[in-house]
């Protein structure tokens, strides 16, 4: 039997995953600003209030700490809340609840109160918005024990990862690459499936250099890989999908093959995930390396307003340049 598929964008794939999970698990509730009637400012929860009612798709007051803190109590009370933080940049008021409580209840109670809360956060630049709508703030979340952090780059993974997140007993930060929410459609199985958290994906095979990335930067990296191909360099693109736990085996096996690595992310370079990946590679595969691990990242500045944002974002030519400098080292 051929599995039935449908053509979906990343945004639609997340909606489809949420809907499927909510049909099956009555304890899943959605909470956030504008998630109900409006279907979310990015329309990711569109139609869910009509389908599941106001009790399960909850428009909350406009207060991020209140939303996450209340979701913690709801989770202890037996629900599986899916919280939407409208833009990742708006997570700051919720950070005390996330860092001080959401990730700690399980440890603090020696395993009794595990909190299956999924916090969805659209992240990244390129949509030309006002200030505070473009940041990639994974670093503080990755530095906090107790969270799982995932970031899909395509519709298939978006649905599979949201379904996996909704089966996790531990809190999951679900980072959504908003620049490519609607950039393209792909075939997504209609049936329920999940993409395991902690497993990376080889988005393109290559033998000369490993480009390690996630989210919207996967697309940019794939474009750079095409440019590199024309210059005779085979780039392998690793889509991390999961930032914590990191799929260290996938990263290392690619680097052992190519001997070179470039990490690409939109967050500032200083103490970003690229630094951690570079450290892990040198700890575990130093002698396989033919060149230093390169990093193509956002600049160490607040994200610029639209007219200057292109100077901030890692782009195709910067990735090509970093890959070639590794190859020609």
């Amino acid at each position: 039997m051929v599995a039935r598929t449908e053509k979906l964008t990343i945004a639609q794939a997340i909606t489809a995953g949420l809907k499927q999970a909510m049909e099956k698990d009555k304890d899943i509730v959605i909470m956030g600003e504008d998630v109900g009637r409006d279907g979310g400012v990015f329309r990711v929860t569109e139609g869910l209030m009509d389908r599941f009612g106001e009790e399960r798709v909850i428009d909350t007051p406009l207060a991020e700490s209140g939303i996450v803190g209340s979701a913690i109590g709801m989770a202890i009370g037996g629900f599986r809340p899916v919280v939407e933080i409208q833009f990742m940049d708006f997570m700051y008021p919720a950070l005390n609840q996330i860092l001080a409580h959401l990730v700690r209840y399980r440890n603090r109670s020696r395993g009794r109160y595990t909190l299956p809360v999924v916090v969805r956060m659209p992240f990244g630049g390129g949509i030309h918005p006002p200030e505070h709508h473009s940041e990639s703030l994974e670093a503080p979340l990755l530095h906090t024990a107790g969270l799982k952090v995932v970031a899909p780059s395509n519709p298939y993974d978006a649905k599979g990862l949201i379904l996996a997140a909704l089966e996790s007993e531990d809190p999951v930060i679900f980072m959504e690459p908003k620049r490519i929410y609607r950039a393209f459609k792909e075939d997504v199985p209609q049936e329920r499936y999940s993409v395991p958290i902690g497993k990376a994906r080889v988005a393109r095979e290559g033998k000369d250099v490993s480009i390690i990335t996630f989210g919207a930067a996967v697309r940019t990296s794939l474009e750079a890989a095409e440019d590199l191909e024309k210059k005779g360099t085979g780039a392998e693109v690793i889509d991390l999908r999961s930032l914590n736990p990191l799929d260290v085996d996938a990263v290392l096996s690619s680097v052992r093959k190519t001997g070179r690595a470039v990490v690409v992310h939109e967050a500032p370079k200083l103490l970003g995930i690229g630094a951690e990946i570079a450290a892990i590679i040198q700890e575990k595969a130093l002698l396989d390396l033919l060149a230093p691990v390169g990093r193509v990242a956002g600049l160490d500045v607040p994200f610029p307003l639209p007219l200057l944002e292109n100077h901030y974002l890692p782009n195709r030519s910067r990735i090509v340049e970093a890959a070639l400098s590794a190859v020609n080292y």
Binding site: G69, G73, S109, R110, V248
Partner: protein
Amino acid sequence: MARKKIFEGFVERLEILDQDGKVDEKEMPPLKDAELVALMESMLKMRLSDQKALNLQRQGRLNTYGSVRGQEACQAGLAAALDRSDWLVPSFREHAIMVAMGVPLRSVYALWKGDERGNIHPEGVNCLPPAIPVGSQLLHANGLGMAFKMKNMKEIAVGFAGDGASSQGDFHEALNFAGVFGSRTLFFIQNNGWAISVPFHKQTKADSVAQKGLAYGVPSMQVDGNDVLAVYKASKEAVDHVRSGKGPFLLECLTYRMENHTTADDHTKYRDKEEVELWAKRDPVDRMRKYLVSRGLWSEEKEKEFAGSVAEWIESEVEALESMEPASVTDVVDFVYSDLPWHLKEEREMLLKEGN
């Protein structure tokens, strides 16, 4: 166009038992003699186990400890008004009511000793681990209360906080959410006058914490927190209100922290002796004792006998505490996730290699 009054509100304060042990008969709650005595006994247990903790800390057998002394009427009065199945969402000065609701004293001592296993409560005891970031736990109490409402449960959640917490954003967000969602949540505020060294009048220009509830549409009341009869009666009204599905309630108990903030603090640096002495005269245990003695329900002999049995209980709890096996070294990493990620497995290996 005219100017119209769009809001008018007031906050009541309930007082029943005065400093001399006299009661306002028309406000007396309908308690049987045995129940009145039980309130006294509950407060004495709190007082004695608190004193023991201070002693243990001085002897180096506990680490930092935060005393509940002076706030016994708040916690004993509320405990008597709750069902054992209700949920406590405590801050760090609620261990008296935690024990009254079934948390073993040894667990309370264990946590102040620095042992996470103190947060493992027996099945059926519905008490979350104390939250340290001030006021943050009130949102969890709101979320629990939302869950109870949505699941049509009879339980209520009690979120605890002090006067200092009323300055935090989470206090206001919790009340606001609870008002909007009609949460089965009681906000129980022990206004003990001091947030470490900052007195209430520097915390807010408002006359009470209770009046802040009104802004969020949450019925609110203040009570003399050193009067166990008034706290019981007000708590009963508040609990009945929440349990009957009418939504959240805020109860503020006016009380006083008789001791230091914690054993790491020195309150003589910022508090006048006269103020402490004034509140010592309002001691909740003394007041109830005077009343019960006047009713012929209590005596010096009875108290001595009761204190003796409490001392035995405390000693056996201390013995249980001090005979606990040390926690396994892998406990450091084992509870962070349901399934350990590779990097924690590596750290676990290291710990195992190092041993205890």
